[in-house]
């Protein structure tokens, strides 16, 4: 049975923890709003890009000379997994769900006898994946110092990916990130970025207009495809960012609530014990008086 003083100390420490988690929740909520706005602001560009590329690629579907970024190398022996996670923990299952998806995918590919290379974006993913796939990690990008994600950050990642691709280091690239659905639900997602894949529905609406191309269709395609990789990565990073703060917010909300429950329980047993002690002291006084 803990003494009264122990209980008092524990209550004080849980209260302090609760204050921290509460503050973190507020901060996460504020940052989430910003991250969500950023993700929404980036949407028109990504949508336009997708539409244009979908119609261009539909036109180039049967073309044997189509750029490799579109048609692929024709093999799928070497896979590159771009795993985007958060820089920090304390966000519930956010990091682990992305990593689990990536790891399952990697293990499946390895079981099929494929070669797996991993590029990690974000410190958490790198730390955890390094334990299992130490030899598979080819590159590591961190945004620890970055306050506000900008397109330049995504471009940096894209450039590394494209460099590897141009050197023939891999055939298929898949991007792992958490798609932001709502504050309480973030879905870990795998998306193939090389060779590029487009939504068919958008392709059919996009190809309706007969375009004039300047310069030629092929040149535009060659210019746009690398840019598209950057755009996709940018979008994934923004979604990830929003998901991270969403996950953190709900995790901290839970923690605050748990701390509250714990405080209630501890206060109850503290009061009981205090009462018992008072009763005990009273009995002692009374029986002492009776003995006189």
């Amino acid at each position: 049975m803990p003494s009264l003083k122990d209980l008092k100390n524990r209550i004080a420490s849980v209260k302090a923890t609760q204050k921290i988690t509460k503050a973190m929740k507020m901060v996460a909520a504020a940052k989430l709003r910003r991250a969500q706005e950023a993700a929404e602001a980036a949407r028109p560009y990504a949508e336009r890009m997708n539409k244009v590329l979908a119609s261009l690629s539909a036109a180039n579907a049967g073309n044997a000379e189509a750029p490799l970024l579109l048609s692929g190398t024709g093999r799928d022996q070497v896979h590159l997994l771009v795993v985007a996670t958060g820089e920090r923990g304390l966000a519930g299952g956010f990091n682990s769900s992305i990593i689990r998806l990536a790891r399952d995918h990697a293990l499946k590919l390895l079981a099929e006898g494929k070669t797996v290379k991993i590029l990690t974006v974000g410190r958490k993913g790198n730390d955890i994946l390094r334990r299992t796939f130490k030899d598979n990690i080819v590159d590591y990008v961190t945004f620890r110092e970055v306050k506000q994600l900008s397109f330049a950050n995504a471009d940096d990642v894209a450039r590394r990916v494209l460099d590897l691709f141009n050197k023939g280091e891999f055939d298929v690239a898949t991007l792992f990130y958490a798609r932001f659905q709502s504050v309480i639900s973030q879905v870990a997602t795998a998306q193939q970025i090389i060779p590029a894949k487009f939504d068919d529905a958008e392709a059919s609406t996009g190809s309706a207009a007969l375009y004039e191309y300047e310069p030629s269709e092929e040149e535009i395609l060659e210019d746009l495809l690398p840019r598209n990789v950057a755009v996709q990565i940018f979008r994934a990073l923004l979604e990830n960012n929003a998901s991270f703060y969403g996950a953190q917010m709900s995790a901290m909300d839970n923690a605050t609530r748990n701390a509250g429950e714990m405080i209630n329980k501890l206060t109850l047993s503290y009061n009981r014990q205090r009462q018992a002690q008072i009763t005990k002291e009273l009995i002692e006084i009374i029986s002492g008086a009776e003995a006189l």
């Binding site: 602001a41 980036a42 990504a46 890009m49 244009v52 397109f151 004039e212 191309y213 535009i220």
Partner: protein, 135 residues
């Protein structure tokens, strides 16, 4: 009064402009082109340069864009710029920083074809520098 059409200037980060315009001058890769209403559907890449927009209200706006492409339809014109800034916001320092970065990239480029492209980009930037910020 010329017909108005929808003009949108989008960068990966956000939608910068979405307005009715009567005339837009775009620095296309193969030379500047002016877009008016009912332009034939055209897709073109753009080089670093100045975009001049004449809004339906008669106001003239200028933006500096750094590469990207334009999607032109009879009813509208969408400019997807890799990065875009209002002309009044650009300073000699930021532009110089971009030129330095491009120069470093060009120096580091491994294959010939890539370097040619980067050098071309560098030349376009330098030209832009001279055009909008006369020494």
């Amino acid at each position: 009064m010329a017909d108005a059409f929808n003009f949108e200037l989008v960068s990966p980060e956000r939608l910068l402009v979405s307005e009715k315009a009567t005339e837009v001058v775009i620095p296309a890769t193969l030379g500047e082109m002016t877009v008016l209403a009912n332009h034939a559907p055209t897709m073109t890449t753009i080089k670093p340069g100045v975009v001049t927009v004449k809004l339906a209200s008669g106001q003239m706006d200028k933006y500096v864009v750094f590469g990207g492409f334009a999607d032109i339809l009879p009813t509208g014109c969408t400019l997807l710029a890799e990065s875009a800034v209002a002309l009044s916001d650009i300073t000699r320092e930021t532009l110089q920083a971009r030129i330095e970065a491009a120069r470093a990239d060009a120096g580091a480029a491994a294959d010939h074809e890539h370097r040619t492209k980067l050098e071309e980009y560098l030349a376009q930037l330098t030209e832009l520098n001279g055009a909008i910020l006369p020494a």
